[in-house]
């Protein structure tokens, strides 16, 4: 799930207008960004269950553990504290945490509570990826809702500033188009 995360970032931007969109989008995939080098060094791995959309079982016992997510989100928020202030830093940390919540819905049970699954607690994941069309529809809804909410907010601030809505429409269209494109590529992979 990439498109759905970006859709959620656009939703947050429509409510927290002072937070930079690029930072929100970075935050929403922050756990996956840290996941990449850990995969390359084999500290975390991916197992193919079946080809195509949602066909992965992800052994990301550091980045996608609940406690790991809290730590990584706090680190990201702290990185933005000086430049963006406390409010935006907290929003960015929460958006990073939202990644875990959205993944919880789609992942099969592969997300532990503690890093390396200390304590051998159960893994979490509601497994919506077992129903690819449904999971894809949820992602598409996030993308469309995010683009619409972003567009309405962007049009609003443009109107208040006495500017036209072209840039707002272009930006929202990019979010929608990219989200649909990524979802399509993901679904047909």
């Amino acid at each position: 799930m990439v498109a759905g995360h970006f859709g959620f970032a656009a939703m947050v931007k429509s409510r927290e207008k002072s937070a930079p969109l690029w930072a929100l989008m970075l935050a929403t995939v922050w756990l996956d960004i840290v996941f990449v080098p850990l995969v390359l060094t084999h500290l975390e791995t991916m197992q193919t269950i079946h080809k195509g959309y949602g066909g992965l079982l992800i052994h990301a016992d550091y980045t996608h553990s609940f406690v790991g997510m809290l730590g990584l989100s706090a680190i990201l928020g702290a990185m933005f504290l000086r430049a963006e202030g406390k409010r935006v830093a907290i929003v960015i940390a929460l958006v990073s945490a939202s990644h875990w919540v959205l993944d919880l819905v789609v992942h099969r049970p592969d997300m532990p509570v503690f890093p390396r699954n200390l304590g051998n607690l159960p893994y979490f994941g509601f497994g919506l990826w077992n129903h690819p069309p449904v999971a894809a529809c949820v992602e598409l809804l996030l993308v469309i809702a995010g683009a619409i909410m972003y567009w309405r907010a962007a049009m609003g601030v443009s109107a208040k500033a006495g500017k036209g809505g072209t840039l707002a429409s272009v930006s929202a269209a990019m979010i929608a188009a990219f989200g649909v494109l990524v979802l399509a590529l993901d679904y047909t992979s």
């Binding site: 207008k17 690029w22 409010r87 208040k160 590529l185």
Partner: protein
Amino acid sequence: MSFIAGILLFVVVVGLVDRRLPWPSVKQQEVGKW
């Protein structure tokens, strides 16, 4: 890796477009001007 590069490129491009919009600053949002 090209998929990840594409995603990062998108974040940069849409971020640059978004920055040109007249979004309120943190102070403006906190005092409820917007």
